[in-house]
Symmetry: C2
Subunit: 201 residues, 2 copies
């Protein structure tokens, strides 16, 4: 298998983290923003929705969307609960991540960190994203203040998914992470999982 | 089971449509925008992420996120493919729907249709959402120009999910649906499924 992966992106990192936690290796095709490799991957049809990551199976079939790739690779492993309700809860967090969390926490970091996004980083937009991102982090904190993991009582794909952009929300996105002690304990818990790799490892 | 459902919302409608296609009935708790019932549901803790729909199990456990509810109710039915890759493809479309499609196609319709959103409906924002929504509809068209269904060769949760906001993209969102003949055929195909109900049925 081959992973079209954007080195700086939390969405691509999620998949690399799951692979590392599972002790699996796949071929990596790096497609960073504004690189010739990204343009080539788009032109070649390797990115069905126009974005990375994409998992290419050995027979050439293509699977886009980071969280769908997590589900495909995670099926049958300990990161997907056997209990139907816990599995559905895991998916709730993952859909919420794409609908609410990524559009605030990840987007604010992108506006601050990527030179080609600077023009969109108006003070008003950054302020709106800060408030909306803090509200979303508070949703996670409500769970993690009293529970170790987002769904059920063991780490699942939901934790790997939300760790992607949350663990750099302070350093890259400027969010006030000292407000969220439960999230900080959870970040440390994930960083201590056997096989964990960092965003830039 | 009880469904906290917003009558005017495509996200809630997806779940009502799946229930109808499965011939299942659950108790409905309507929580329309700006209603006392919505305020009460929020205050009571029935909406863990602050939004409808939410499925409440008979033992009181709460499951938010429309697409996670579809997965929970659809498990073991013909709307979830047995093949692991087709199942992952189904999830790709569903994550994409929450990340790309809903934020453009559904948001433009909301700005145009809900009086309390009118202040945000600036000409510039409506124009941006029109262009981005058309680009997302073109992604669906690319698949549906040559295939009957979004994932695999039978209707899945991905079709029910994306039908939610796509079937009213012209009438409520002002999108130029005549550009997308494959989508229009697919809409007719879903409307003809046994048990189909409309948004306001």
């Amino acid at each position: 298998m081959k992973l079209y992966s954007m080195p700086s992106s939390g969405n691509s990192y999620k998949v690399r983290l799951l692979l590392a936690l599972l002790g699996r290796q796949v071929e990596m095709a790096d497609v960073e923003y504004q690189s010739a490799a990204l343009d080539e991957a788009k032109v070649s049809g390797a990115l069905p929705f126009g974005k990375a990551p994409v998992l290419q199976l050995d027979d050439g079939r293509l699977l886009p969307e980071s969280n769908a790739i997590l589900c495909y690779l995670g099926e049958g492993t300990g990161f997907v609960p056997a209990d139907p309700f816990a599995r559905a809860q895991m998916l709730s967090w993952m859909f919420w991540e794409q609908n609410q969390h990524e559009g605030t926490v990840a987007v604010r970091a992108a506006l601050l960190c990527y030179p080609h996004r600077k023009a969109q980083a108006t003070p008003e937009r950054l302020a709106d994203l800060l408030a909306a991102g803090h509200a979303n982090l508070a949703v996670m904190e409500q769970r993690l203040a009293t529970q170790d993991w987002l769904a059920g009582d063991a780490p699942t794909l939901a934790d790997i998914c939300l760790y992607g952009y949350t663990h750099t929300a302070g350093s890259r996105g400027g969010f006030e992470m000292e407000r969220f002690p439960g999230i900080n304990r959870w970040i440390a818990r994930i960083a201590a999982l056997p096989g964990h790799v960092g965003l830039h490892d």
